[in-house]
Symmetry: C2
Subunit: 200 residues, 2 copies
DNA sequence: ACCGTAACACTAACGGTTATGGTTTAGAAA
DNA sequence: TTTCTAAACCATAACCGTTAGTGTTACGGT
């Protein structure tokens, strides 16, 4: 971004982009299962091996852009205003992400994803990776450090909020509803309740 | 179980069992990736197509037994003692399941699973199916009915508790820790807090 | 004894993915 | 400039999970 990238890197990026664009277009035109890797490669005018040197799998072609999902989440934790509480910051970010992927323009894409078991599976394990990153970011947050177990649980809950809300009738209301629960869980987890304190 | 099954069904069950046993043995001996479907079929002395008429995929060979996981969870909800609160019943069941799969005898199997991305992916989406069943069971529970969103969220949290605790150093303590959070989340979700009540 | 069909077999293919080995070309070094 | 290196790309063929197509056997009911 700072230094002018050489021709080589520009060409590489262009190739990658062309593959991604072609793939998405074909998938939406003919359906994910009806388009083969060889079709995509031919239409993008590259070799199959080249395609796989840019994307790890067929599914990765669809989620090309969702790698910054991870970054936005961790950023919401590490880059929030000083003294802003954790959970509301995460809630705002999840709201934004949900709004983004439930927008009308994204509808055909997500309909396609929901229709393909392979794509659903891929997304699920992608989200779990995101949850792990988020857990790390939460654990590194200054102030009272809860257990890593608590951090990992909260991170999972946040990801759950996203993927559940995405498929609800009123996504934003669902995010609010689930985050009220997460807030309560966080309070309990943060204070380490039960560890020889309120032994019930 | 009640009537004596005919020879046909016995033979079918025997074939299925032989396939499953052979597969698991080969997988543990040589590693999941190093064993092909054709190897398993040959060793079990069946055709490849026969193997796939018994198991939907290679991964399903490994999780053959885990189909009752789903049943045990929903049973823990629908079949619990009258007036026993929901969350503790679920906690007990998850404890049992975690204990079961962290037992020493199961260690090699789970090490294999954790080492294979394909198997992890398969397990993850299996768990999500389980979560949906659990959510349905919770929603059908008599008494005060929370939103379906709340039920689905709690179901996910419970599944999260299982899969997180499974890979912690002290699984049973982790289950307790996470369930304290789930309990709090459930209380908040159940009472519908925030819906024009405690608007904050 | 006969028939319908469930279980199984064999072959060949399909589609995602990878290994192999070769060609071009950007960009640094001489 | 010329030369060299390595990155990007290409073409081919194979591997492996999975499925379709097409029988063949033998169980269980009539």
């Amino acid at each position: 971004m700072t230094v002018p990238p050489g021709r080589r890197e520009r060409k590489k990026a262009a190739t990658r982009q062309k593959i991604a664009d072609t793939a998405l277009r074909l998938f939406l035109e003919r359906g994910y299962d009806a388009v083969g890797i060889r079709d995509v490669a031919a239409e993008a005018d590259v070799a199959v091996t080249t395609l796989f040197s840019h994307f790890a799998s067929k599914e990765a072609l669809v989620f090309e852009l969702d790698e910054d999902f991870e970054q936005r989440l961790t950023q919401a934790v590490t880059g929030r205003a000083p003294h802003e509480p954790l959970i509301p910051a995460l809630r705002r970010e999840i709201q934004a992400l949900v709004r983004h992927c439930t927008a009308d323009s994204a509808a055909p894409l997500w309909r396609m994803i929901d229709a393909s078991p392979a794509l659903r599976k891929y997304e699920e394990s992608m989200r779990l990776r995101h949850a792990e990153s988020l857990a790390t970011a939460i654990a590194a947050d200054p102030g009272p450090s809860p257990t890593t177990t608590v951090c990992r649980a909260i991170a999972r809950f946040v990801i759950d909020a996203y993927s559940l809300a995405r498929e609800e009738a009123e996504p934003e209301a669902a995010v609010d509803e689930i985050f009220r629960m997460i807030e309560a869980a966080w309070e309990v987890g943060r204070s380490g309740a039960g560890r020889a304190v309120t032994g019930r």
